[in-house]
Amino acid sequence: MDRNELRKVQGERLIETVERTYFNVPYYRHRMQELGIGPESIRSVEDITRLPFTTKQDLRDNYPYGLFAVPLSEIVRIHASSGTTGKPTVVGYTRNDIATWSEVMARTLTCAGADKNDFIQIAYGYGLFTGGLGLHYGGEKIGASVIPISGGNTLRQIQLMHDFGSTVLACTPSYALYLAEAIIESGISRDEFRLRVGVFGAEPWTDNMRREIEDKLRIKAIDIYGLSEVIGPGVASECLFQEGLHINEDHFYPEIIDPETLQVLPEGSTGELVFTTITKHGLPLIRYRTRDLTRLNYGRCKCGRTFVRMDKCVGRSDDMLIIRGVNLFPSQVESILLEMGGITPHYQLIVDRINNLDSLELKVEVDEAFFLDRISQLEGLRSKIQGTLESYLGLGIKVTLVEPKALERSEGKAKRVIDKREIQVLK
């Protein structure tokens, strides 16, 4: 699509979205009224800068359905991701939204070179997480044979990949690497597999990791990007040239802002990625701050697609960690610890990648408030912290009790997170 024509379509869709949110979502109406604007203020896509931002906190404050823009009877699907204070971030889809999602996921898979002749092994988790079902609907839309194996059970993954002749693998990049090594260890010859391409996302990864996956699995590794608030996977994806991720900007309008001043940055600048969903009905979001830092490239791609490309994200403008595809804020850990002893003890999260899988360890300083004279009490404390965190985060975590002052401090304040994975690709 010609970019001028695209801007016209984006403008029309933005106007409709602003109207829908203004009239159907009291929260947005109030925000716009506070700014002294209304639907009539938005005449083209350029006017988007007049609109207010939306943050994850706004979603939490309106938990669960406060930002939905349709009657709940119109919602056909609900997904959710874990949140800070026990409340997940909830997203709802109308039938039309599911069709949009299927469409953008079909594009994602097509972008990766998949078609109806492919067998797509979906090793993303199915359930409240958007990864599994997102890929699933996209796979069916292009007419491929979908294998909804979901995450985990590596031996079974390898067996079915081999026996069913999977040609496309969809999972997190760290799991892809783990699977690659498990295949090598299995001793089955690579020639017996038909795997050709992988679509990997839901966590940050480096180009080095891509090369390693490509070498070990002998496939093309395609980076895909999405977040449940915007739609799930399907927001952006690489084409086979692997030179940035094409954003489906006829559905999700991107901006790059300075996370401090909130001003839109000039083209080509690195800053925080912001999306406005311009076709969603269930949960339309205006200028949603992703907290992901990246850069947009409006140049035409060798593949011929005119949609803008985003670079691999280079970091976050907040302290969120992504571990095995699960979002984790240190404050979540803090609030859980607070509940245990009535005080916030010093703690440190150590994230590492061991055998290509993210590992998470929590070190907690044993404060006098926690410490009685009994082993059973300490063991109980340790397993309670571990159990609560695991059930809450849906992530395995190792909890270690350490002595006071054992944790590194800078200017008296403990360093809360040590990420040893080296996946930050800051340039």
Binding site: V366, D373, E379, P404
Partner: protein, 141 residues
Amino acid sequence: MLIPQLSVFLENKSGRLTEVLEVLGKEALRITALSVADTSEFGILRLIVSDTEKAKSLLKDNHFTVNLSEVISVMAPDEAKYYAKILKILSDQEISIEYTYAFSCGSKSIIILRCNNNGQAIKALKDHEMELINASDLYKI
């Protein structure tokens, strides 16, 4: 009868026990009894020292996590049957022992006990004419 005991939380790291003892050693504190309970990841050092308050503040100043608790001390001949007898007195009363350790001293042994109900345990031991030791006598040993 009830003896103050210090418990110190220790990571399973070489040199930590040495550090505790060096801190106490600087002030020439006497250690009457010492025991370590450990798991694969951490341990609890239990100490009976001549000056509990002083030892506690020294350890706290050196950033150790310290807990002050009370244990029971019984003196008995150093034969296994006496230890068994003491334990049986308690179990007959359905008093559970959280931990115990002992050391011998001449032909006697000093048995340290921490029970889920120390008061009840003391009563039971007295009723059976066991020889309970108070703190000041214990420090003289």
